[in-house]
């Protein structure tokens, strides 16, 4: 927007967010006054915890012995052969407990909640993956858990709803608005506004008001840190390309962040284009959206000509969100990360190819990252190293996959 007054954004090294929670002109705290004391309290507690060795040691212990980290960096030999050059590596977040990277963040946030003395946890979920990851850690630590989920998503993701219930969480159906993730998030925020004294809101992606995007990034950055060390051990150098899918953007920022200052590493975020970035059935926020405010931060989002938020579409429920994290918006504007659209069909073809050639069934979200190999590999050099954040496993998507390929 031409008339937005922009906060100064000259920086020598990459040390976003600013004191006020901005990444360039994106981010901030766009929330009702009632949440300001809660966000201030959270920010203070988070900063202290992050510097506290005991907290970090506890967090790492749970990541190692409960989540199952360090996750492998698998050389994708047959995919590499298939494309005929370069070397493709997969960072195996699909092998985390509960089947995706989401739990790296919920472990961190739940430990913070307990440190702050909050015993009631709420979360929003779209496809149910973040809801399951939250219900899981709440069961593990004995905390009350309420998950808000759109009525339409509850219908589509019955298995995950029952997983959450089995784990002891209460799943609350959201019938307002579009009855999907966007409205589940609104409803979780409303619950938080009403029960702010004793409730901790675990946000599942690198979105929301400051300090959430920073916190989620920091809890997910272990993905990129491990990758860097592992590739150094195997190949003795940095990768040439890192690819990750972007919905809200937590797995992507987790693997990108430790590489941001390594300027020779090209970072690529794949967003869900649905039926095509130019169509009405898309979730390609950067290709089709504009600047705006949703769920507490300034970022890019899909909206109408009069600034009403529109519904996203993607075959992958985890990428079906009209917004994106503010740090990604900044990385998009500065050009440090290249964001590219991948359609439903391209992603599904990649799901099939990866399953056939590597014996690993990716989540459809992850299929969006794998699909970019088709476009990228013809342009790579013989010795290029490519790392893909293999964010989740596809078991949860078997219903969609069956309908798509086998019926």
């Amino acid at each position: 927007m031409s008339d937005l007054n922009i906060i100064p954004q000259t920086r020598k090294t990459y040390d976003w967010p600013s004191q006020a929670g901005y990444y360039g002109k994106f981010g901030g705290k766009f929330v009702p006054e009632i949440l300001i004391p809660a966000l201030d309290e959270l920010e203070k507690a988070y900063k202290e915890a992050w510097q506290d060795e005991v907290f970090q040691k506890t967090r790492m212990d749970h990541l190692h012995n409960y989540v199952g980290r360090v996750t492998p960096l698998t050389f994708a030999e047959r995919l590499t052969e298939h494309y005929g050059k370069g070397k493709i590596y997969l960072k195996r977040e699909d092998l985390c407990h509960t089947g995706a990277h989401k739990i790296n963040n919920t472990i961190g946030q739940v430990l913070l909640a307990m440190r702050m003395g909050k015993k009631k946890i709420i979360a929003e979920t779209g496809a149910g993956q973040h809801g399951v990851a939250t219900a899981t850690v709440c069961a593990r630590f004995g905390l009350e858990c309420i998950v808000y989920m759109g009525a339409e998503d509850i219908e589509r993701q019955k298995l995950n709803v029952d997983r959450m219930r089995l784990l002891g969480a209460e799943v609350r159906s959201v019938t307002s608005g579009s009855q999907t993730l966007k409205d589940a998030t609104n409803e979780a925020i409303r619950h938080w506004v009403t029960h702010v004294e004793d409730t901790f809101y675990i946000i599942g992606s690198a979105v929301g008001p400051h300090p959430y995007p920073q916190m989620v990034r920091d809890f997910q950055a272990i993905i990129g840190e491990e990758t860097k060390t592992q590739l150094q051990d195997i190949e003795g150098r940095l990768p040439d390309y890192v690819i990750a899918c972007v919905g809200g953007g937590s797995n992507a920022i987790g693997i990108f962040y430790p590489f941001i200052n390594d300027e020779q590493v090209k970072l690529i975020g794949t967003e869900a284009a649905g039926l095509g970035a130019e169509s009405d059935k898309t979730a390609a926020t950067f290709a089709k959206g504009g600047t705006g405010v949703l769920h507490g931060s300034m970022s890019y989002l899909l909206q109408t000509d009069s600034g009403q938020v529109t519904l996203a579409h993607s075959i992958s429920a985890g990428l079906d969100y009209p917004g994106v994290g503010p740090e990604h918006s900044h990385l998009f504007d500065t050009g440090r990360v290249q964001y590219v659209p991948v359609t439903d069909k391209e992603a599904m073809d990649a799901v099939k190819l990866t399953s056939n050639l590597e014996g690993i069934i990716p989540a459809i979200e992850t299929g969006h990252a794998m699909a970019w190999l088709e476009k990228l590999m013809p342009k790579t050099k013989k010795d290029d190293l490519i790392v893909i954040n293999f964010s989740g496993r596809g078991d949860k998507d078997m219903g969609t996959i069956s309908d798509y390929f086998f019926s």
């Binding site: 766009f30 009702p32 609104n186 702010v196 009069s306």
Partner: protein, 275 residues
């Protein structure tokens, strides 16, 4: 817009409070622009004025109103389905201004304003005859760079909120940055009518803190008020009260029936005067 018009628009809210007599309470009524229909809103506002409203809060509907409860969400959805845009809203204000000088405060969320252009929004809102702006998702800090410059340029003051969990320092910050009045949120929660007893009991000590810290602006209290009795009890220590969801619920109850507006205006009168 002429200089006179600018002066006039700056002063409507201030004038209202300056002319307020003793213990009289200001009644601020919230209506969603375009609910139940864009063609009705101006007429409803004029009717509210005749039946006791001193100030109007005109809601700008948004797809994701996260500070609002189910009632205002519903009215916003209806308004959006009926095609309400910024231009519709400014048109409603202009129509009211043909007949009335009742102060009108716009209330809404930041995204449609960003999309319209912040500078353009303030210019056009002031020109149409609006008197202030409430943006529940823009706290003082974000507002300082995003809204304040245009607000000052076009003489359309920003009205911020204080809540029961706001610290003393926070209340003072809000007071320093507000113009017109400070909106006191009676309970931690979203908008919506509540049971009278609950709402009346919880506010006492909070109001004392508000009075101590908010000294530069009048204070209006809102959230949860649904009857004259609520209003009298809750606003006795402040300058007036705000009713929104209860008003929309009342429209939902009567709308479409014969003479529904008369019955609705009876309710409005009862909010102010009892009975």
């Amino acid at each position: 817009m002429t200089i006179d018009a600018v002066k006039h628009s700056i002063n409507r809210i201030d004038k209202l409070f300056a002319e307020k007599q003793g213990d009289a309470k200001i009644m601020n009524l919230f209506i969603t622009a375009g609910y139940p229909d864009p063609a009705e809103t101006a007429e409803l506002i004029l009717g509210y004025e005749k039946n006791g409203a001193d100030l109007i809060e005109l809601g700008m509907p948004f797809s994701d109103p996260l500070a609002d409860g189910p009632t205002i969400q519903y009215s916003s959805e209806v308004a959006l389905k009926k095609g309400v845009t910024m231009d519709t809203i400014f048109g409603i204000i202009r129509k009211v201004r043909e007949k009335s000088d009742i102060p009108i405060v716009l209330m809404g969320y930041i995204n449609p304003v960003i999309h319209y252009g912040v500078e353009n929004f303030f210019r056009d809102a002031a020109a149409a005859g609006a008197d202030g702006l409430i943006m529940p998702d823009v706290p003082v800090e974000e507002s300082s760079y995003l809204l304040k410059p245009a607000s000052e340029k076009h003489g359309l003051p920003l009205i911020y909120l204080v809540a029961p969990n706001s610290t003393d320092e926070r209340m003072q910050l809000v007071d320093r940055n507000s113009g017109g009045f400070v909106y006191c949120v009676s309970v931690t929660g979203v908008t919506g009518a509540r049971q009278g007893e609950d709402i009346r009991q919880s506010v006492g000590r909070f109001i004392q803190r508000v009075k101590k810290n908010v000294t530069e602006n009048p204070v209006l209290i809102g959230f949860g008020i649904s009857s004259h009795e609520d209003a009298v009890e809750i606003s006795k220590e402040v300058d007036g009260f705000i009713v929104g969801s209860a008003l929309i619920n009342n429209i939902r109850e009567h709308e479409g029936k014969e003479n529904w507006k008369e019955k609705h205006f009876d309710f409005v009168r009862s909010l102010k005067y009892g009975g």
